[in-house]
Symmetry: C2
Subunit: 154 residues, 2 copies
């Protein structure tokens, strides 16, 4: 898994009024919990990410998936290999560009997401975000969406 084994403590306490550090702390915690929740299904955070992206965006090339997850193209080869062997995704050919695959979710992949993975990860998010009221949560989501938005200079 991650590293330590035990529950992580925040990296900053006093200082660090900086939202950046807090962001890192919270994200690290979410990632650790997510990895733990997914371990039973022999999936890593990144595998789940691939499935979620395909679910929301439809068929994509391996590189495009990797770009969205900040994963190298050569690494994506093996990631998709495994998911394909487990029948969760399929490598179709992109008609417009025969160099690229059009990786897409299979029915089994879609079903696993709906019946197992989403409930699992929703629970994790609930654990972490549970301290906020629904209104606060909406506010947080809105602010983060602004930050995650497109093209922030270069």
């Amino acid at each position: 898994m991650g590293a330590n084994g035990r529950e992580p403590a925040p990296a900053t306490r006093l200082l660090a009024g900086s939202a950046g550090w807090l962001l890192g702390d919270v994200a690290r915690e979410v990632t650790l919990r997510l990895e733990e929740a997914l371990r039973g299904d022999e999936l890593r955070w990144r595998d789940y990410g691939v499935l979620v992206i395909l679910e929301s965006a439809g068929p994509l090339s391996q590189q495009e998936i990797g770009r969205r997850l900040a994963v190298d193209r050569s690494t994506m080869v093996h990631v998709i290999d495994v998911l394909e062997q487990r029948g969760l995704v399929a490598r179709g050919r992109d008609r417009a560009d025969r160099r690229a695959y059009a990786v897409e979710l299979t029915g089994a992949g879609r079903a696993l997401l709906a019946e197992v993975l989403h409930p699992l990860t929703d629970a994790v998010h609930e654990q972490v975000l549970g301290r906020l009221t629904p209104g606060e949560r909406r506010t947080l989501t809105r602010l983060l969406a602004r930050l995650a938005g497109p093209a922030r200079d270069a």
Copy 2:
């Protein structure tokens, strides 16, 4: 550095109203930019994390630092080795428990933080958080602080 080389795109667009995913996206971007900014000083994100923690919390054992960063104790050995060789931290002995080190910042470490690293990372945070108004930024910080707070069940 991270992986891809180029600018990362958000992992989720449509779906994913879930704050958890957005959090991951934004944190990933901050991390990538931070790594890039620190590369000139031959430091990784984690090294900077060690220095920041020591600056704000005072001398700590290697394990405690690792726990706060979710880094394994055996990995911390080498991390501190390098920082010590560069004269940024010093391994003192913990008087109360002579099994543990009391790792602390040196003057050089403190100076590097103040004169180089903090300005560098502040700039990164500014790039990413720049889309928010000061008021929104305060709100975000407050919400994240609640999430990063102590003891969220087990």
